[in-house]
């Protein structure tokens, strides 16, 4: 750190963070797909000339690690043909993309003729071609049934739009808003570039280079200090995946071996089951993100997200594995292997750092409804965010968070507003409330799950289901109890009931069908008999624990 100034170092760190935050606001406010502007399923990042992460604003934690590997790949791919004014698109999962629908925009930043940085935005697009609109095709077995592959491609070169390339890409995508949203992402990259150039103009390249290295070192030290608090050893855990979308009753096991040695940690997935023949497969980038976000929740949450944070962590996932599928497997479900992966890590580390882990989180079970609004004669697509958000696992000293949603998002994914939901779909919302006794009991209880009911308002409605958590509930820890299972059930106007599989595509659902969903709670932590009596009484009064459960689970007779 000889050529660095500790004060200026703080200035750089603040500035990098403010740049990616500013880019994030541009994307949030100017995109049109609700997946981007409401669910905030995007990440903005700043990388150095070598592709090292300087800072990022990930919005959804599952995107925590999704850009840096691509950035390095671009450098290798284009070599010395990277120019000022280039704009590069990428989504290919076989060259470090994390999910087909997550399309990245990269913009190289040049200062005084030299490549000094990259600004990038990756966002989940409303459509990316393939067999099924929206990308979730439970029947897919190969990547081409899922999406248009976009390996690194320049849509602008030296500041000039390559109209032919642009037209080629968007000729293969159903929805026009995807073009607009990609433009919004490009706009954010430009905003980021402007700020990087201001910084360099002020301090010069040498100062920037020295300080960013110092910043990586400082962050690395922070992460190493956190890891050093975990006793050395080898810790193993498992998480279960149920149903690959093709073979009923199929089950898969994620096995992680975590080796902590002084200031380093290795996550090894060599013993995890092999890839499936369906779309229930991870990509390396998405699986590594899942590992990182779970681990980051067990350490100091204030560590900056840059290259230095990652250096002490190694994640080994052999190709052909459930978490790192080989070409040309289908992989769209990969992000949703995060919950069972997190389960495996939590189980592995719970014995050694019991006060830093949570009990199991509610797993994702999601539906996507598509149809035509009969009153407006307009197509709609709705992702059932409000229905899918269950509770988080409890931890020592803290109850789980109610209705937070799966761990991949950790509360970053918001419900649709009820009235906006009724404006944008023809459905009528009947219920969206916490479920009594849905949280795993414990000295600290799990977060509450929710119940969602609505009446479908369009004929010939298509319902796509994807997720898990209907076979195995969120687990309790240290005598804490498990939660309840996820369920989706459709009751047709003629009384017929349909319970979809957890990966399913249901066509022709008639108007008037009653949609019912349960998202379970989180697992409890510690012996429920030790829970404070006043808390239980207050919760019975508020109807989140029934008097019966107070007696059976907690041993408290409310009438006494």
């Amino acid at each position: 750190m000889s050529q660095t100034d500790p004060i200026l170092l703080s200035v750089y760190a603040n500035t990098f963070k403010s740049i990616t935050d500013e880019m994030s606001i541009v994307v949030e406010k100017s995109t049109r797909s609700p997946i981007l502007c409401e669910a905030k399923d995007f990440v903005t990042g700043l990388y150095d000339a070598q592709g090292n992460m300087l800072e990022q604003t990930e919005n959804l934690p599952i995107l925590a690690f999704s850009l840096a590997p691509v950035c390095r790949y671009l450098l290798e791919y284009f070599g010395d043909e990277i120019y000022e004014g280039d704009v590069i698109f990428h989504n290919d999962v076989f060259s470090y993309g994390n999910q087909n629908n997550d399309v990245a925009v990269f913009r190289p930043v040049f200062f005084e003729g030299e490549l000094v940085a990259w600004t990038a935005v990756k966002g989940h697009q409303a459509d990316i071609g393939g067999n099924v609109q929206g990308g979730y095709n439970p029947n897919a077995t190969e990547v081409w049934q899922e999406a248009l592959r976009i390996p690194p491609v320049k849509v602008y070169e030296k500041g000039k739009l390559r109209q032919d390339v642009w037209d080629f890409i968007f000729a293969n995508i159903r929805l026009e808003i995807v073009q607009h949203d990609m433009k919004a992402q490009m706009g954010a990259c430009k905003v980021g570039e402007r700020r990087v150039l201001e910084l360099l103009k002020k301090y010069g390249t040498e100062s920037y280079e020295n300080h960013k290295s110092a910043l990586f070192e400082a962050t690395q030290k922070m992460m190493e200090a956190e890891i050093a608090q975990i006793p050395n050893g080898v810790y193993c855990g498992e998480g279960m995946v149920y149903f690959d979308g093709h073979h009923e009753g199929s089950e898969f096991t994620i096995r992680v071996k975590i080796t902590v040695e002084d200031k380093k940690v290795v996550f090894d997935y060599s013993e995890t089951d092999a890839q499936t023949n369906g779309f229930v497969n991870g990509t390396y980038t998405s699986s590594a993100s899942a590992t990182l976000l779970t681990f980051l929740q067990m350490v100091n949450p204030d560590i900056p997200h840059n290259e230095g944070m990652i250096r002490p962590i190694t994640i080994n996932i052999p190709e052909g594995n459930l978490l790192n599928a080989s070409y040309p497997k289908a992989t769209t479900f990969g992000n949703h292997l995060c919950p069972p992966n997190a389960d495996a890590i939590i189980r592995a580390l719970s014995a050694v750092i019991p006060e830093r882990v949570t009990a199991g989180w509610n797993n994702l079970l999601c539906s996507l409804t598509t149809g035509t609004d009969p009153e407006k004669n307009d197509r709609y697509v709705d992702i059932g965010f409000m229905g899918l958000k269950g509770g988080s696992g409890a931890m020592h000293g803290t109850d789980g968070y109610d209705h937070i949603g799966m761990i991949d998002a950790s509360g970053g994914l918001l419900d649709q507003d009820y009235e906006m939901f009724e404006q944008q779909t023809p459905h009528l919302l009947l219920k969206h409330e916490y479920i009594t006794d849905s949280a795993g009991a414990g000295e600290w209880r799990g977060g509450l799950g929710v119940e969602t009911d609505f009446r479908i308002g369009s004929e010939d409605t298509q319902v796509v289901i994807f997720g898990d958590g209907d076979f195995e509930p969120a687990f309790g820890l240290f005598e804490g109890q498990d939660s309840i299972l996820n369920t989706i059930e459709l009751t047709y106007p003629d009384g017929e009931k349909v319970v979809p599989k957890n990966k399913d595509l249901i066509l022709g659902v008639p108007k008037g069908t009653h949609y019912h969903q349960i998202a379970g709670g989180g697992g409890g932590y510690g012996n429920p008999k030790k829970r404070a009596r006043e808390k239980i009484k207050a919760e019975v009064r508020n109807g989140v624990i029934s008097p019966e459960a107070a007696k059976t689970d907690y041993g408290v007779d409310i009438n006494k």
Partner: protein, 700 residues
Amino acid sequence: MNLKIGIDVGGTFTDFFYVRKGQAPVIHKVLSTPEDPSLAVVRGLEELAKIGDSPLSASEFIASIETIVHGTTVTTNTTLTRTGAKSGLITTQGVRDALEMRRGIREEQYNNRYTNVEPLVPRYLRIGVEGRLDRNGQEITPLNLDEVRQAIELFKEESVEAVSICFMNAFANPEHEQQAAELVRKELPNAYLSVSTDLLPSIRFYERVSTTALNSYVGPKLDWYLNQLKDRLQKAGFSGLLLIMQSNGGVMTPELARKSAAQTLLSGPSSGPGAGLVYAKIHGQSKCIVVDMGGTSFEAALVVDSPIVANSGKIDRHHLALPMLDIHTIGAGGGSIGWIDKGGLLRMGPQSAGADPGPACYQKAGTSGAGGRLPTTTDANLILGFLNPDFFAGGQIRLDMDAARKAVEEHIAKPLGMDIERAAAGMYRIACTNMAQGVREISIKRGFDPREFPLVVAGGAGPIHSCLICDELEIPFQIIPRESSILCAVGMLMSDIKHDFIRTFVARLENLDWEKLESLVAEMEDNGRRLLSDEGIPEEQQENVIKFDCRYLKQYHEVSFPVPREAFRMRDLEQIIKAFHAEHNRLYGYTLEAEGAAIEIINVRVQAIGQTEKPQPHEETTGTADPSEALKGKRQIYVFENENFEEIPVFDGHRLRSGHRISGPAMIEQITTAIFVSKAFDCLCDPYGSLALFRKGSED
């Protein structure tokens, strides 16, 4: 005598400000009385009577006051300290948890110890009742009044003090809410009642229920306080008009404030930006950025012709969807604590030593706080020579240099391996970077270039830091008002009466039902006229501003923009669409104009403005440029451009006269403010006693 007084209640001081024609403005401060803030208000007025050339008796003076404009943080504090009313909520069956769920957000995603905020209404007092409207406001199921009665019975048993009513889709038809409200008024006549569509008849259920519940939560407290205040003022002889500051930068009568208490929730700093504009106008500018640095926080706001308004905000993580000034607050003040994070980086704040224990240098100060052990911004400023240990608050508070140096040495200098002076300079630097970032939030992030705005600097410590903030943002011109330390009280005298109205009206712009739209606007304008007339504002001083909230079809976020009256009258769609594209481009850097993307309107808004009389600034005669009569001496002060201490001149701010010109680096000391003119700036004292700082060579 036409006396109008601004009274701003803060955490430590209650500030008073008034101007009499032809006389210098009067500034006065008394200690606040948090348990009943009206005590300090009356005490201050009594003290004011004795100030000046012709002292009056307290009752004579108070009787001569025509208008009091009052800013109160009663509702803000009630929310932050969770001491609001015991409230009940009547809502649509099936959605009673929306208030607590807050759409399922956890603000700190990696922090599993971060818990949800306690709901304003406990679950057992949130009652869902049968009755449903569809998205167009058509009734699907009639309201079940028996269930409403049962809810009321429960509220009676539970001694509920305030009731909120919010039903699904009521923005499109308030009928069910009105039915329920009628029953509550009859059965619970003493309860404070908030009806969502009276307060905010616009779409988005969570925002509406949260705003309504906030209103009920703080309403009874504000009602009590306003009674206290009116009583005390009346007893003291006051018979004039009392006006209350709102979060939207306007004022309203206490009668209205009682009903819509939530309008005052973020009113604390809301008169500052308008005051800033007054000083900018003196220098021929109709826009400015106003910053105010206090003991624990730093506030920044932007003004273009009038202060920029946001349509919603948050208080203690609760959503508040009422128009409010777009003021960005960060935890950077004089009391902000410096610390080294685990990666070895220097950080400032957001933790603050506040007034108690206070900065380390308060060891012998005789203030309420005995002085902390941790190094703060104020300690760094003392070490760097910006603060004079013998002249802090005019010498009332003695600063302990040794304690400041010890704190900085132990917690900053040693861990970073540098000397105390350099460590203090680093603290100063980081504090300024944080504040510059706060300015970016309200300028660059909203599509404005800060270099085009003069920076109006308020707060006792603000002008020590403003040169470096301007350096970071390349701002060439700053104004330090004579009343810098009580800017909000000044702003109160400059505030107009403002009432905001909103109606949800979802339609595509290209096939707009103009008659429907015009009738909505006419209805809101009528309401505005009625309120303003009740408040005694004559017709010729009334004005209406129309705004649309629009978006490209299927976007989720609306852009709010003013619609020129003439364009509205002429149904000139082309001009309205152009205004939307322009605002969208300014905010987000692109438009879909070329693509011809369809635009939809979601809400239409009317702001009714009643202009109030404002005092004229007091002008001094201009003298010479030579400031030497005000020179106090020289001392060693840190000049950041040279990263070094230099012996620079120190001036007595109270002896500076109009026309005096000082070339930086220099220090100017006033009783309530210290001003550092860096090497890059020249300072000119204007005819109103304010200081204008120009970047050298940029003056025109």
